[in-house]
Amino acid sequence: MIKRLFLAALLLVGMAVAGCGDSRSHSNAVYMLVDTSGTYAQEAGKAQLIINYLLGTLQAGDSLMVARVTSRSFSEKDIIAKATFDSRPSQANAQKRAFKDQIDAYIKTVRGTAYTDITGGLIQGAQFLNETGAGTKTIIIFSDMQEELDKATIRNFPISLKNIRIIAVNVVKLKTDNIDPRRYLGRLDAWQKRVEGAGASEWRVINDLERLDAIFSKS
């Protein structure tokens, strides 16, 4: 009897280890858009803080990509750094150090751009996140959410952000927002409608950088 029980337990453990694994991905993939347009480029230091927080929080096997928002952001050239961290924690730590160095180097040389193409960045971010096959996909938009496009850039078409969480961080108030706060609230509402209409699983705004833990907490 005992022998049978022992064999059954061994079999169960063996099965669990051998082939009964959970096929779903449990990894996180984060695509962070850093707005460098106009005066918002001055906020780049805060973006560095957020990236450092992400580097400290993301685990082995997770992915992190940081891209800048420029006049036309739908381009691989705008990606500052990207990495899928190794499944071994020691290697992942080394990758994170290298990632941090890349970001530090970029922050020192950041320059403002004339226009702000957030939509282009979102489309590119969604593509990259879908390619990772991660279980949880998040786009962090470090911006004032004021999109400004030149006349030649076309972004007024439906986009797909299916199963992607969109988190707007450090959405600062513009001078015009101070005159009429409805502009600010309206801008946020418009973005919420747009991303939710595009199929995003979540929309969240985090302005208090002390509460960055909300980035990964489920609503």
């Binding site: 005992i2 499944s87 071994r88 924690p89």
Partner: protein, 486 residues
């Protein structure tokens, strides 16, 4: 007539309508009295019958279970006490071999010492000095009359001088002989002491032997009681099983704490080996399962080690192995256990390194840099973790002992609890069955209360035609009996 007044048989008079309806209803109910009584009685029986049968079956099953539990308990107790008696006999045998094997030598030593003491005793016996032959000559000479003869006086003087010197010499010899005897007597002392010591040793060994035989007697009495299948023996074994279960459970809980600490030590470094991104379920990583498997393998090796050392007896196949194979198995299990302990120590070190690396990374990411501490105090946790990683597998190996107790006592405890549960269930079913029967009677009586008016009329009509009161009473009694038998 509105919709709600359709039942009124007497329009615009509800009271009369109700009364008429009641009377009509009562008449119908009276007419249907017997079939309804039968129906309610049958329903009561329909419900109570299976419940009572079920209760009886459960009770029989509980009794059967108790008998089987008793048989298993007594068999297990017999085996256990038998083993204990065997062990006591082995101890007794070893004691007899160790202590009484040297008994002939001890006896020879005792005899030698006694013989020597006897010889010495004989030696120190007082030997009276032989009467000198010259005493008679001296007496004869003393009777010679000197009568002033110078010659005689000279001879007597000479004799006196010789006798005095001889007397002194004899006295000195006598004293010397006594001194020698005293010395011999003084030499007795160590022999007496040795004899005393030897006798004390014999006494101690015999007392030990007596104690062991008393223990064997106690076990034998218990064995006889078990063989006789007495209730006392069964009760004692049940209590013992409950105690064993509680103790084993407690020890297993403590061991589970140890296993948890062990798991925490190796779960993180295992992710370095099998990767941190693989999941078995939504909250269980492959690395955690791998760590668990290592802990289970360690516990299994400990189990095999204890089995091959014959401390536990969970696997008869191992217990039946020949000595050579058993020793080989023991060494294999021990080697694997030591290897796993070494691996755990290495993993514990790796864990510390990974945590340090992570901390360093977090410090580099933080805005405020922390001062690095590289003192020997910082190395204590590392050493402690490594030591813990090495020791815990061996500590886990001893789980086999409480596990065996838990398995064996669970059979008894589980059996007793299950039998109790089945008995309780039988009791509940019996109560429900009785409740259904009683309820059917209550309903029958309630039915009669509703049609009390027709019954009263029936009674009044039948009363003049009724037989003698005694007969009527008997009829009522018979009806009651019939009801009860139902």
């Amino acid at each position: 007539m509105t919709g709600s007044e359709y039942w009124m048989v007497w329009p615009d008079n509800a009271a009369v309508s109700v009364l008429v309806l009641l009377l009509v209803g009562m008449a119908f109910l009276y007419a249907a009295r017997k079939p309804v009584h039968h129906l309610i009685g049958s329903l009561g029986f329909l419900i109570s019958g299976p419940l009572r049968i079920g209760a009886r079956w459960l009770l029989a099953a509980a009794n059967d279970m108790t008998q089987r539990n008793k048989a298993v308990l007594l068999a297990h107790g017999r085996q256990e006490v038998g083993q204990r008696i065997e062990r006591e006999f082995e101890r007794l045998g070893a004691m007899v071999t160790r202590d009484l094997q040297g008994y002939p030598a001890l006896q020879r030593k005792l005899l030698d010492e006694i013989t020597r003491v006897e010889e010495d005793y004989k030696k120190c016996g007082e030997v009276p000095p032989p009467p000198p032959d010259w005493v008679e000559a001296v007496t004869a000479m003393a009777n010679v009359k000197s009568s002033g003869n110078e010659m005689v006086q000279k001879v007597l003087g000479e004799i006196n001088r010789s006798v005095t010197s001889i007397h002194d010499k004899a006295l000195a010899d006598y004293r010397r002989a006594y001194e020698t005897r005293h010395k011999i007597l003084e030499g007795f002392m160590p022999f007496w002491r040795s004899l005393d010591k030897t006798m004390a040793q014999v006494d101690k060994k015999l007392t030990g032997l007596q104690d062991s035989t008393a223990a064997v007697d106690g076990h034998m009495a218990k064995y006889e009681q078990i063989n006789a299948k007495t209730d006392k023996a069964e009760h004692a074994l049940t209590v013992s099983a409950f105690t064993q279960f509680a103790i084993a459970f407690l020890v297993m809980a403590v061991a589970s704490g140890g296993a948890f600490v062990n798991f925490k030590l190796i779960a993180l470094p295992m992710s370095e080996m099998v990767g941190a991104g693989d999941y078995i379920s939504s909250s269980l990583r492959t690395s955690e399962v791998a760590a668990l498997v290592i802990i289970f393998v360690e516990a299994s090796m400990g189990l095999f080690l204890m089995e091959s050392l014959r401390i536990t007896h969970l696997f008869p196949r191992i217990a039946n192995l020949n000595e050579h194979m058993r020793h080989r198995m023991m060494w294999i299990a021990l080697t694997l256990l030591v290897t796993l302990a070494g691996i755990e120590a290495a993993l514990a070190l790796m864990r510390d390194m990974l945590i340090s690396d992570k901390q360093a990374l977090l410090h580099s990411l933080a805005t405020v840099q922390q001062a690095a501490t590289d003192s020997w105090v910082a190395r204590i946790p590392t050493a402690g973790q490594m030591l813990l990683g090495f020791i815990l597998p061996f500590a886990l190996a001893f789980i086999a002992i409480p596990l065996e107790s838990l398995i064996y006592s669970t059979r008894t405890v589980g059996g007793v609890l299950l039998a109790g549960f089945v008995r309780t269930l039988a009791f509940v079913l019996r109560i429900l069955g009785n409740l259904a029967r009683r309820l059917s009677r209550v309903l029958i009586n309630l039915y009669d209360v509703v049609i009390v008016l027709p019954l009263l009329i029936e009674h009044l009509v039948k009363a003049p035609r009724a037989p003698a009161p005694g007969k009527s009473r008997r009829g009522a009694d018979a009806e009651d009996l019939r009801e009860q038998s139902r």
